[in-house]
Subunit: 378 residues, 2 copies
């Protein structure tokens, strides 16, 4: 599964771990050098030849670019088209991929106290491999993180276990938030116990405490990523997707998450303040939308009527702006007000991203921050 | 022929010219940030599926890396193999191409006095387009410079005339050296007069004087590139490939070049000192070599017995090393001594590059420096 064999280039692949070398994953709300995205093109995932999704991705890129530099990886076949559709100033680089989820296939960049940065390249198996993964093959996706790290001239750690970036959130102060549904799923790392997965997170994220939620958001096709369910908005504060409808299966999931969060302590021993944000919808795929998606052997069919996993928690925190999905006219404004209150130093920019939702994720799933190096203390 | 349409990304495409904006092309012997190369793979140009050429390119990359950072662009299909064969520390980025001549398809990076850098992206037509070009199509090659500039985050000028980087040398002090055979060839810019080409060089290289030699080196399949014939080794000093064999067609070419160089003045009004370097060989393609090259419609056949255009002038000047081709055991050592004398502050590293020669060029042709920004004066 290694993107590149041992002993070759790939800048340098380190044999140690981030924690052992004094590195940690910064929180998304710490400073960034910029943001990476990938350009969608698969007609079996994105309707109408991916043209509506490409417009949505370009709008997301434009919103993030108002706050920090954006790089978009595009396949050779789509490179010219990506250049033409993306706003001026976005950097486009050639990058082959199986699909366009930079959060899950991109690297996790870690920093140390001496101003250095490195990248964690997680093995990727399309959210479950042959036991429930969303498409086959996923070889190009598994190479994405390594390629991004080379463009950024960052040495890498190749983690020894499967993980997608959307499966974790950190507070930047030693705490990781994740779900049992995803990380303990037999289709990710069947031979690892909970204790071993926790140890892996400690080693590769530089955290000392893992808070386990149970299930991810209802019908999340990734198998329960944290990034549709809850996230840190600052140390000690978690935002949780919510519904008041007891008949909605999301209700029990959010209630259970709230109970676990309320009972938890973070790495510094603090209790967590939990903020709720009402989910949009429920939203379902229409006949018209489903009719424009190709069928393909090896890819999960995307069918009319199926409920979409929609959550306002799936936003991106840029240096000066929070970029949030606009999904439901009855709920968008209230969600925006909550984010404005939780991120007082940042603008909140809403982008219409139903087209991203149709592909199975949202703004957080299609972005990956490159943290800024932390200036060394004298 | 534009790599990307107007109005889209490509960072920024500037409507002005380098000279108008105060930019100039630095000489190769000025300081670099690093060097770009491209990874060979075409079996109709590189024998034995390009494996021997890949080994030679990797050896060139290793030699240059001893002196400055190296980036190698490789196609998606060859990315993993390039990583495995290149030395650790070389940055590999995905880049599609028609062939691997970074000198000719890469950008010319220009600098100004305020510490800024930009790139010139020259239209490329495979050394002569449909009127004598070496292969068809060349669309991916024409996009290479723009892609490299995006990776390097440099805004670009798209030049309005065809030029390859191997067709020009500059002294960094206002003088450009080129050949009539190449730049005035009807298969490059048939509608431009000599005066118009000169004006283009002034605008896009920031030079004030163009010194025209006549023919390029004998049988140079590019159509007379300067970089097999002569180059600046410092301001006021030119190195010229030479033979004492009057029956060799190269003799008259080098004699004519010497006469023109001796008569010329550079941009600062200096006479030029000309240093001679004896050519290797003559060298010819063997039966064994030709037998392992694919035939392909649209590509110039590469046949047993044909003389190869071999010259020691086709070296690369890195920050701390000059990397020169080793081509002929009877001549390599003497050539190395000349380069050592002309570049006293640098090591001279010889690399066996017959495999590059078989593809039609040598070390200078497969490399492209990215100059360092010049620190602004206070």
């Amino acid at each position: 599964m290694l993107a590149c064999g041992p002993g070759g280039s790939h800048l340098r692949t380190l044999r140690s771990t981030p924690a052992r070398d004094g590195f940690r994953m910064p929180a998304e709300y710490e400073r960034h050098d910029g943001c990476w995205m990938l350009w969608p093109e698969r007609p079996d995932i994105w309707r109408a030849g991916a043209k509506p999704a490409q417009a949505a991705f370009a709008a997301v890129a434009a919103a993030i670019q108002s706050s920090e530099p954006v790089t978009v990886g595009a396949s050779a076949a789509q490179y010219e088209n990506a250049c033409a559709r993306l706003p001026s100033g976005v950097r486009v680089v050639e990058l082959s991929m199986n699909d366009a989820w930079a959060r899950d296939t991109g690297p996790t960049v870690v920093v140390d106290a001496n101003g250095r940065r490195r990248g964690v390249d997680w093995p990727f198996n399309a959210w479950g491999g042959l036991g429930g993964g969303l498409y086959f093959p996923w070889d190009l996706d598994d190479a994405v993180a390594g390629k991004i790290l080379q463009v950024e001239r960052l040495d890498r750690y190749r983690a020894p276990f499967v993980l997608e970036g959307g499966a974790i959130h950190v507070d930047g102060q030693g705490t990781c938030l994740t779900t049992e549904e995803c990380l303990l799923n037999a289709n990710r790392n069947p031979r690892l116990s909970r204790a071993e997965v926790e140890q892996g997170l400690r080693e590769y994220l530089g955290v000392s405490k893992v808070i386990w939620l149970g299930q991810g958001a209802y019908l999340d096709e990734t198998g329960g990523h944290i990034d549709e369910l809850a996230c840190f908005v600052k140390p000690g504060h978690v935002l949780l997707t919510w519904t008041e409808d007891r008949r909605d299966p999301q209700y029990a999931i959010s209630r259970d998450a709230l109970a676990r969060l309320t009972a938890a302590r973070d790495a510094r021993g603090r209790r967590l303040t939990v903020h709720k944000i009402l989910q949009p919808g429920p939203l379902n795929m229409t006949e018209e939308e489903a009719a424009l998606i190709d069928l393909r052997r090896g890819s999960r069919p995307r069918l009319a009527g199926e409920r979409l996993c929609a959550s306002y928690v799936n936003f991106y925190v840029g240096n000066r702006a929070v970029v949030m999905p606009r999904l439901d006219p009855r709920r968008d404004a209230a969600a925006g007000r909550i984010l404005k209150r939780l991120f007082p130093g940042r603008r909140v920019i809403g982008v219409d991203t139903r087209e991203v939702l149709l592909g199975g994720g949202n703004i957080h799933c299609i972005t990956q921050q490159i943290p800024r190096a932390v200036a060394p203390r004298r």
